[in-house]
């Protein structure tokens, strides 16, 4: 304010006498007086102007400020609006589609987006989805409709694709044998004229917009059963629409921005990209009280199966007590789509350059992921390890929270696993029951940092060794007699049917009927009795109260176990030494449980359920529990089937598949 002070001093004032005296004094010097007056007037004018300017300045500043805050609300609108204009000019895409017995390809604007001429592969209908505004490939699928049920998968997929997308179809080799009417009708509804009449070894290409125009279709009939139709090449033009039309108008939130990014890039995830009623991508499950695993990092090991990863992450993020900040997804390879899925859910993902091949590649990926996890979370004492083809039970974290202290305190434990190898629909019953087992089931498990850092990491199999990491972890050199804790009813479900060691048949036989807990907040009942010594006491108590079954009956028959509920039964099988699993394997086979290698045993004892009764199997005389066998009982011996050469080799390979 200092600078303004002179003002009042200059002003002519009320002190009239002084003013008059001064005036008369200067009367004679008229010129000087005039000058003074003009000076005073000028000064006053300047003061006024400066003041006005100041007021204007202040007002303007205030106005700007207001504008700034007003902009808060306009800002987003403006930002969204701006990029829309330049894109609205229409563009045309040249599309080329080729269909033949041994080769298919699709080129968009001269760029090959699909080319498949591999032999014995890629049979069936290839489908490509393009974004109608950008022309980017959003999904690529092949449905082997020569084989059963694949057409159902195709229908499912086509139904998930958003309206307005551009669909490209082409057949390689054969695509009609198991193409049922439902599927044909779907194709017809997309505008195909030929689809209803597609038959054996026809060649066919089709380009159309879902729910809109048809851009072209070509078809070549197979002249005879033994020959294929002539190759067909369809060339057509597709008009692109504006981005605005291609996008949904969801409210502008952080979540929807992620959704928008995802949905403009990929297709085939169904309602997550639905304009009207999109499925949530944030789940906010109930938090767990006293969650002991809130700060435990979760490593999700993934490959290039983005649809699996999507399903897996949904179930993981819906589990009670999940902490999304602790989740890291490790992707083996520079695949974009899995990363898109990870970003959709707002999680962090890390890509890993593939090292080595097949099993060794998986094994190296595991090592890198585990090391990275403990580096990123240096405070963590444990890590939860999950795979992309698992459903996670709603009480997964509750299960771990209740049991994790055991892993910290009991040196004789190797891991906690959410998976019971023998926990099938007909052999698992009690969600609150836990076991100790000598095998390492994997499929959703907790690893102790000290175990990894001090023992496993330094001697992890090197890339040139084509070992399975899980088989390696099960080896006695690594396991050193330690055991894992598992639940009776699994807290994970293995849904993957395509994978390195996996196929539909194998999955159906060994995984489909696995029991999976869906009950929230299960209170585990025997946690403390799982410590090393307490567990022995517990087993002895169980065996003490168990009723010995009638060993003259066939254990494979249903009648072997009486029609009761909630009882404890025991049977004794022959097991000459620790590694003699001949009878057990036969028993497992006829009980339709995991029989490819030995799982779920604890000192020659297996625990499962039959007809809702707890069912104990003791191997005599190798098991220390053999002493519980009444002398009158002869252990059951089951002969392995007469040798088929192949039968031995298969389990060895298949056993590796489990993870």
């Amino acid at each position: 304010m200092d600078e303004w002070k002179p003002n009042p001093a200059i002003k002519p004032h009320k002190k009239r006498s002084w003013y008059l005296a001064w005036k008369y004094k200067l009367m004679n010097q008229r010129a000087l007086r005039k000058l003074c007056q003009t000076g005073a007037v000028l000064f006053l004018l300047v003061t006024v102007i400066v003041n006005i300017k100041l007021i204007l300045d202040t007002r303007r500043a205030a106005y700007e400020e207001e504008e700034e805050s007003a902009q808060d609300y306009d800002d987003e609108m403006l930002n969204v609006e701006v990029p829309r204009h330049p894109v609205s000019n229409k563009k045309v895409l040249d599309v080329e589609v080729y269909s033949s017995r041994s080769k298919v390809y699709v080129a968009v604007d001269g760029t090959t987006v699909l080319e498949d001429e591999a032999r014995e592969q890629g049979r069936g209908i290839h489908v490509i989805v393009l974004n109608q505004a950008t022309g980017h490939v959003m999904a690529k699928r092949v449905f082997d409709t020569y084989s059963p049920h694949e057409d159902e998968a195709m229908v499912l997929f086509l139904n998930m694709v958003a309206r307005g997308r551009i669909l490209i179809f082409t057949i390689k080799d054969e695509g009609s044998f198991h193409l049922k009417d439902t599927a044909k009708n779907v194709l017809k509804s997309l505008g195909s004229q030929v689809a209803p009449f597609l038959s054996w070894r026809d060649m066919w290409t089709f380009v159309g917009k879902k729910g809109g125009e048809v851009y072209g279709e070509k078809h070549a009939k197979s002249p005879a059963l033994s020959t294929w139709g002539d190759p067909v090449l369809l060339k057509t033009e597709v008009h692109l629409t504006s981005v605005e039309d291609a996008e949904c108008h969801w409210p502008d939130t952080e979540l929807n921005r992620r959704r928008k990014r995802f949905c403009s890039k990929v297709e085939g995830y169904g309602s997550v990209c639905s304009c009207k009623d999109p499925t949530p991508i944030e789940f906010n499950p109930d938090p767990l009280k006293d969650n002991k695993v809130f700060d435990v990092p979760v490593a999700v090991i993934a490959g290039n199966r983005p649809n699996y990863l999507y399903r897996m992450l949904r179930s993981l993020l819906s589990a009670q007590g999940v902490n999304p900040q602790m989740i890291t997804v490790f992707i083996d390879g520079y695949y974009e789509e899995p990363m898109d899925v990870v970003e959709l859910f707002g999680l962090s993902g890390i890509q890993h350059t593939p090292i080595s091949i097949k099993n060794a590649r998986v094994s190296q990926h595991y090592k890198a992921s585990l090391t990275a996890t403990f580096n990123l979370f240096p405070d963590a004492k444990f890590a939860v390890v999950l795979e992309e083809d698992l459903d996670i039970s709603v009480d997964f974290f509750s299960f771990l929270s209740q049991s994790i202290h055991l892993l910290e305190e009991d040196e004789s434990l190797y891991c906690i696993s959410a998976w019971n190898d023998q926990g099938y629909e007909h052999t698992a019953e009690d969600p609150s029951l836990l076991y100790r087992v000598e095998t390492m089931p994997g499929l959703g498990w907790v690893l102790r940092k000290s175990l990894y850092k001090d023992e496993l990491e330094p001697k992890w199999p090197t890339p040139e060794k084509l070992w399975d990491w899980d088989m390696w972890m099960r080896m006695p050199e690594q396991r050193k007699g330690r055991e894992c804790i598992i639940p009776d009813i699994s807290r994970s479900y293995h849904f993957g049917i395509v994978g390195l060691n996996m196929n539909g048949y194998f999955h159906e036989a060994y995984f489909k009927k696995h029991k999976f807990n869906t009950v929230p907040n299960v209170q585990l009942k025997n946690v403390e009795s799982l410590r090393k010594d307490a567990y022995e006491t517990e087993i002895h108590r169980l065996l003490g109260e168990a009723e010995v079954l009638d060993h003259s009956k066939n254990p494979c028959e249903d009648s072997f176990v009486p029609d009761t509920e909630g009882r404890v039964y025991v049977m004794f099988i022959r097991m000459e030494q620790e590694a003699d699993f001949a009878t057990w394997t036969q028993l497992a086979k006829c009980l339709h449980i995991w029989d490819l290698d030995v799982r779920g045993n604890h000192k020659g004892l297996w625990r499962l359920f039959r007809k809702k009764n707890h069912f104990l199997v003791v191997g005599v005389p190798a098991s220390p529990y053999s002493s519980k066998k009444p002398s009158s009982v002869t252990p059951i011996y089951m002969e392995p089937p007469a040798k088929e050469e192949g039968a031995v080799a298969v389990p060895a390979v298949a056993a590796a598949e489990q993870t």
Binding site: P12, E68, E254
Partner: protein, 461 residues
Amino acid sequence: MQKINKNAVLALLSLTSLVFLLFQLYYYKFYLSQKNGAVFSKVRGSQSGQDSTRWHVVRKFLGLLSSHNIPVYLIDPLILGLVDKDFEQIRSSPDGPSPECKYFCAPRDFTTFALLDKTWKHEVDLFRTAEKMGFQWLKIINKDPRLDGMDDLSGIEIPLHYIFKLASHAIHLVVFYERSGNYLWHGPLRLKQHMDRKFVPFRKLHFGRYPGAYEKPELLLVSIDDLKVQIPKNPSSFLEEMSHSRFLECRYREARAFFQLYPDDASLDAVEFRKKAKSLLHLAALTLNNLGVNFWLSSGTCLGWYRQCNVIPHSKDVDLGVFIRDYKTDIIPAFQKAGLPLKHKFGKVEDSLELSFQGEDGVKLDIFFFYEEDDHIWNGGTQAKSGKKFKYLFPKFTLCWTEFVELKVHVPCETRQYVEANYGPDWKVPVKTWDWKSSPSNVQYNGVWPVDEWDDVIQIY
């Protein structure tokens, strides 16, 4: 007539001028009470305006972060220095209004805060709100060093620094990451090509010239100049820590290249030795840290860190260096208490002191004491049977933090010169036979201990 008119004009003008003066006063008051001074300083730009600008910017910033539940703490060395002087008073009156603006009103270009990475989610919303509040912000990202040591992970970039600027004041927000070895790390501040080099006077920033390593601080909520902020519970020790916090990352890329040339020994023996050496080093670090003795990785252990980021499996011991000025008589009893009996003691405090402790499982821990001269630093060696003395010369060095086998430890900042002095220009080539009396390239014969001193300077247990 004319005179009256003139007087009337004069009166009118002075009246108007008075009215405007009142207006002016009104606006002035209005802005002081309503606004945060930023607008006002835009108009006035006077010296006194900037002071309150800083205070207002800090207040706005703290408000922004607390509305997003992001806990930050003050690490500005200048303010902490002032705070430290009046620490008792500040601590005793956490809520009392302060009579004058003492700390946040000193005119500075920026104020520095720290943020623990794991306490927040990387929210986009924060920045949107910041923009709405008038902040301009700059994010400095770089590779995540926690994953740098691993082959083949695609480099994940993480935010290392944020700068929020409002009016003429900037907030420097340093992101701290937890790393293996139970310490906090912040990254260097490096501008990328396209970045605005004049966004703030980067050179004047207190953090970011080098990466730094810190202990996890205990925090204290205090009220400074009527602003509630968290500060390190012990500002003076934080400032002390800050003065030598420089951190060196292991040279992972070079280490990988080394292993390409000389594949790692993955034998069981090597794995076992590394495990033992690691646990011995952890134990030694714990013991020395408890005594408050500064130490660094020396000789073979230092070479292992520098060349391959790991323990050299064919080395047979763990080597540490300590300045003789840090020597404490408690060292020997403390190690004995930790289960590491003294194996031998050569030399004396005045000359060529060297201690060896017997670790579990046959791994030896050597502690060499270093003597500082005007232009070099040296440590001594003694041959037990002959009483011969040796001297190992090193160029002068300072100490930096690094991470080694999940431990935050010191190494000489000028590691290359240190290693080269010790192992010569061919230090990159592994040598399995090593004679400590002749192999080092910096060894000098240093006479013989007088026989009557032998009992004292050559003690073997």
